[in-house]
Symmetry: C3
């Protein structure tokens, strides 16, 4: 594709030769002829002299002799360019002869249903959605248009997925929440989990992630939110829009997570609390209480990020501090005895 | 269902109009006509005035004008009421024509085996058990009566499951334990994992949870124990009765967990140790050593819960403490120089 | 098998009666007639008097009247003996009639492909490899000789597995990495993950572990490395040879892990850093920065292991230290006021 044609599709300006051919994207250090790369930060501008890329995406204020796409947010422009240069392989429309599709299910136009997929009673599957082989969709599930469910995904009864939802392999949507009532003799009685899961438009769910159905009403993942692999979302949790959770994060039941939130890897959030919009929780932190919007927290239990960083800087010196305290106590004792 | 009929099945007393119809359960804030709700704690008694529920489960000493079921443990009563009002959907008995059931397998009366399920040689499946589609049961497995295995569950060779065991989607029972011997040149030699997994009666296992087979003898999950999602149980671990583990908890190999234990989310337990009965481990704690029965521990590495809470309260003040210590040292230095 | 025959196959020396029959391996406390056991450490030598084992593997310098195999590394010798006495059950060669094997796939000699397995276009499967039922292999995947893929494994497009790779149930190899570019209005644009996963020879991957495909180039797991269950490997991570990661560990994107590294359970490693060869990270530690080869680190954020142990010993005494500091301040105040 000519650089000018790509620029036209991306709606951005070219600097330099707009007739070069770009075939694929590549990292700045590995790029070669035909590759489009990008400069994520002006501080890597020195790499521009060494790259063998055919073209580069740069912020408008960065100078380079390479043919360039100018973009205020080069990483975002790169994402869109990569989508154009590397369109996902689409399995052909149609239902594989081995798939078990219930007679009452309604499939939209252009869907693909792979080998051994199971589509339950009264399921609705939107137009052009792709259900790979070995996906199981229980009864009464609704799935919107242009979704992709990779092999090994299990969607439990009555879950509702919006449009353009992507689910990576092995994820489980709508498994029973962890609800048991304890009797006086310490035995647990199961509380039927009669609520559902709602996944809004443009959500992506990682491999082997579990989103539990609600005990009563709904568990909801908001529009544009992205969950990485092996994430746990407890029953009746609600997550706002455009929130991201890195791998192995976990959110306990009934907690409300805002929009634009970022949870680092292995973060744990307690149940029945509220995490405000735009909160950032750094990796491995544990959050026992609600967090105000716009704050950045760290630690276990988490505190404001800077306080945590400063306290951690002192932590390895604790034995030394304890020794110095003991020494001071002795000196004062001596001082008083002398005095 | 008339409230009096539900009360009769639950064995509890009605106060007020026992002829009202209850159709389903609901949370106290969302309940409407036909809904049965419950009061989990007397401190929420003020909500009783506002709810639109038709009836409520309350402790005997709580006053309300609503038709009420009286129960010392309202949450437990609610669990049982919900089980009656919301019986689980049962797939019809029978073996799906696509299922692969080995000729030597023995299936009990009334079982359901779903599409594409694989039942290996010499497997025994108890009466009325439900094996959903896409479940794989390796050879020589024994499964008791009234079990439910959701789609995507994998049960490895020779595992033994008791009665009324529920396994959520994607869980793996009996995968190889992580056992390797290190040679002098740093390479690892696999140790065949020749033991089995035993799951006792009334256990529930969450989605995408892994219970490894033993290296030699058995890994055992005791009666009535409940494991949440994404939990890891290492080889040769034994867990007592009525223990609960929240999501993403992990127990390393050969550890012995008692009965009535509670592990919070993301808790990690080291291998080859012993966790006594009724121990409570709060979320994200890491347990390197054995823990005495009846204690509550927290932290990483975990200490007694109160000591941890108090130390954490001081932790963010570490930089201030270090400054104050330095200031004291200077003052004493000055004092001594003066003196 | 006669003890002398086993010794011959293992290349080690017998002490005592080499004509006894050993049928299986067992732990020293449970061993009975026909069992071969081993002494993992000289400090357990007292158990030798009580065991009912028929034979034992011991270091040459340990005295016992039992027929013995002498080995400098008894655990390693035990691993190899167990492999001989307990050869894995091999499903018969052949492709199950229900398996869907693409016409362009090439299967090596003696492979087993189980029920409902899906083998995509242009896949190459090496000689004697075992693909259990319900495995899905996307297009363009290469799998070497003598591999074992357990049921429920999903291998995404263009992944490459070496020889003798073992993958436990439910693992996902090559799922999309977690790559999104954030726009100015806070929405996320997906970055196509166009790289692959490479798994070298003799790797074992645990149940429900996720190894993400690279965004651009490759994610690589080095020769002989062993990953436990529920582990997360982010996109473009590279792991060296003979590294072990315990369950629920996670490595964020683009990080480079050396050879001979050991990560404890639930360890978290940040992205874009480097963990040197032979580094040991104890369980639950969180690693924000690169770690020098040969070091042992602990904590969150991790520091050198001994410093962490010492600081932790002081941690629960923080409230006491704060009180003592305050008391000192008061005494000095009094002293100065007096003076």
């Amino acid at each position: 594709m000519k650089l000018r044609d790509l620029a036209a599709r991306l709606g951005c300006t070219v600097r330099g030769d707009d007739g070069v051919d770009v075939l694929r994207v590549a990292g700045i250090d590995r790029a070669g002829a035909g590759d489009l790369t990008f400069l994520s930060s002006p501080r890597y501008a020195s790499h521009l002299g060494e790259t063998h890329a055919t073209a580069v995406i740069v912020p408008p204020d960065v100078e380079t002799t390479l043919p360039s796409l100018l973009a205020k947010n080069p990483y975002l422009c790169y994402a869109r360019a990569a989508q154009i240069l590397h369109p996902p392989r689409r399995p052909a429309p149609g239902v594989h002869p081995t798939a078990q599709v219930d007679a009452t299910a309604r499939l939209g136009e252009g869907v693909h249903v792979g080998a051994f997929a199971v589509i339950g009673a009264r399921v609705r599957l939107g137009a052009r959605s792709i259900v790979h082989s070995h996906v199981v969709v229980y009864e009464d599930v609704e799935i919107g248009d242009d979704c992709v469910l990779h092999s090994g995904v299990h969607v439990r009864e009555a879950s509702r997925l919006g449009h353009r939802v992507v689910v990576q392999n092995g994820a489980v949507i709508g498994g029973d929440g962890f609800g048991f009532a304890r009797s006086d003799d310490g035995e647990y009685e199961k509380i039927p989990q009669i609520g559902i899961v709602v996944i809004e438009d443009d959500v992506e769910i990682g491999a082997l992630t579990a989103v539990d159905r609600s005990s009563l009403h709904e568990t909801r993942i908001g529009r544009g939110t992205k969950l990485d692999n092996l994430v746990q979302i407890g029953h009746s949790v609600t997550v706002g829009a455009n929130t991201v959770m890195a791998a192995q994060a976990g959110v306990a039941g009934s907690t409300k997570i805002g929009s634009g939130v970022m949870l680092g890897g292995q973060v744990g959030i307690a149940g029945h609390i509220e995490i405000g919009d735009r909160v950032i929780v750094t990796a491995q932190s544990g959050i026992p209480n609600s967090v105000e919007p716009g704050t950045m927290v760290s630690g276990y239990p988490a505190v404001e990020n800077r306080a945590w960083l400063k306290a951690n800087a002192v932590f390895p010196r604790l034995p030394e501090l304890a020794r110095r305290l003991r020494a001071l106590e002795r000196r004062i004792e001596e001082l008083l005895n002398k005095g």
